[in-house]
């Protein structure tokens, strides 16, 4: 499966660049901390309200991270036309899309877990054992968001004002993912795990839809010619 081998090489390259640049992940964490501190101060010591707000706060930070990391990686690809070099060498160019989904999934999954850890600390959330389900849930939501982000990146890649267009095109697409992610996380946090599977199925359908569209359209949408 050469397409997967290529995708893994490209994902490794993306992660290496993000680790070395650090800007996007660091700014996303800074935003998360500021938002959590401000909300914590505004709400005061009311554990139930803070627990109810936590999933939405984590997801707002995650959306920002998704846009920041994606824009950063795309800018790196377009700088000095590195993308053109990849385009010429690859046998199956869809590996660029798959590689981007993989790298974004890993970055967003890890960021989401880090933001959850900060939220637990700053909002003093008392977690039940069932809260461990947040880990696989973070993985699934990261894959769903990454599939959508990589799809939109391909669609706006050759358009002027990409930094402006990316969030404008992406955020409406991610509303269902946002809702499903927040509801599933809230159910897990509140110990209502029985309500989570419905939202998980919604996330799986969204991930399959975005990934399918991405694989179908990538070569046409992202072609430099």
């Amino acid at each position: 499966m050469s397409i997967l081998q290529d995708a893994l090489l490209l994902a490794r390259k993306d992660l290496l660049i993000e680790i070395r640049a650090r800007q996007a992940a660091a700014s996303a964490m800074a935003l998360a901390i500021i938002a959590l501190v401000l909300v914590g101060l505004a709400v005061g010591p009311q554990p139930d309200r803070l627990r109810a707000l936590a999933p939405a706060l984590v997801w707002i930070a995650l959306l920002y991270a998704a846009i920041a990391v994606a824009e950063r990686l795309e800018r790196t690809d377009r700088s000095d036309d590195a993308f053109g070099g990849l385009w010429l060498v690859l046998e199956d160019r869809r590996s660029i899309y798959i590689g981007r989904v993989l790298s974004l999934s890993i970055a967003l999954g890890l960021l989401q877990l880090a933001i959850w850890a900060v939220a637990v600390l700053l909002l003093d959330l008392r977690l039940k054992p069932e809260a461990m389900a947040l880990v696989p849930l973070a993985g699934l939501t990261a894959v769903t968001a990454a599939s959508a982000v990589a799809l939109v990146l391909a669609l706006v890649s050759d358009v002027g004002h990409r930094p402006l267009l990316l969030p404008v095109a992406l955020l409406p697409l991610l509303v269902p993912t946002f809702l499903a992610g927040v509801q599933a996380s809230a159910a897990v946090l509140d110990g209502r795990a029985g309500e989570a599977p419905g939202w998980v199925v919604a996330l799986l359908i969204e991930a399959a839809l975005f990934a399918g569209l991405g694989l179908l359209t990538f070569e046409t949408a992202a072609s430099p010619a």
């Binding site: 050469s2 290529d6 090489l9 490209l10 390259k13 290496l16 660049i17 070395r20 640049a21 790196t76 690809d77 700088s79 000095d80 036309d81 590195a82 053109g84 070099g85 990849l86 385009w87 010429l88 060498v89 690859l90 046998e91 430099p224 010619a225």
Partner: protein, 225 residues
Amino acid sequence: MNTSAPATGPSLSLHVAGVTKVFGGTVALWDVDLRCRSGELIAIRGANGSGKTTLLAIIAGLVSPSRGRVDWATTPPGLPIRIGLLGHATHLFDHLTPVENVVLAARLARRDASTALALLELLGVAEFSGRRTGTLSTGIRRRVGLARALATNPDVLLVDEPFAGLDQPAAELVAGVLADAREHGRLVVIATHDDARSRSMATRTEVLHEGSVRRLTVVPDAVAL
């Protein structure tokens, strides 16, 4: 060491047929014709803005012609053609080191990573292989970009201004590498201002005339095949 391992790809011919490119209201190329084949080193000369870079990008498939077409034929027919390009851009990732950039290209092209290291050595840039590419000077970057293009074992090598930003020894080194690529059966097309050097190494020189209508004209061969 030999730069270019013997080309394992097909014997091929290229026909640029009546290619015109218009950007907005500006005519970059007008009705350009060019025929060449494996084992040739074609030098395309012309003043700034004469369309040399655009022509290379069209041959590479990174820019679509407004009219006309680029036809490739291989023996046996229908084989895939790999194109290596060093344009005005070097197609390198700034946050990766030269060795990481070249190895990535080699692996995506299913080639041994050790070839990539040998190419950096050959082009005299091995001592910079551990530094971030973004910190390198233009001349060093150009040589790393050439190593990257060669690491993919291209059947066709397109190089825009191969001697730009290079001192005399480095320019001679690059000229030797390009001549060697031709001797190993690759088709090499360079766009250059360096008349003396291109005359000494090219098997054929073509000139892009200035003016709104530009046509490639054959100049008597400087070096017999």
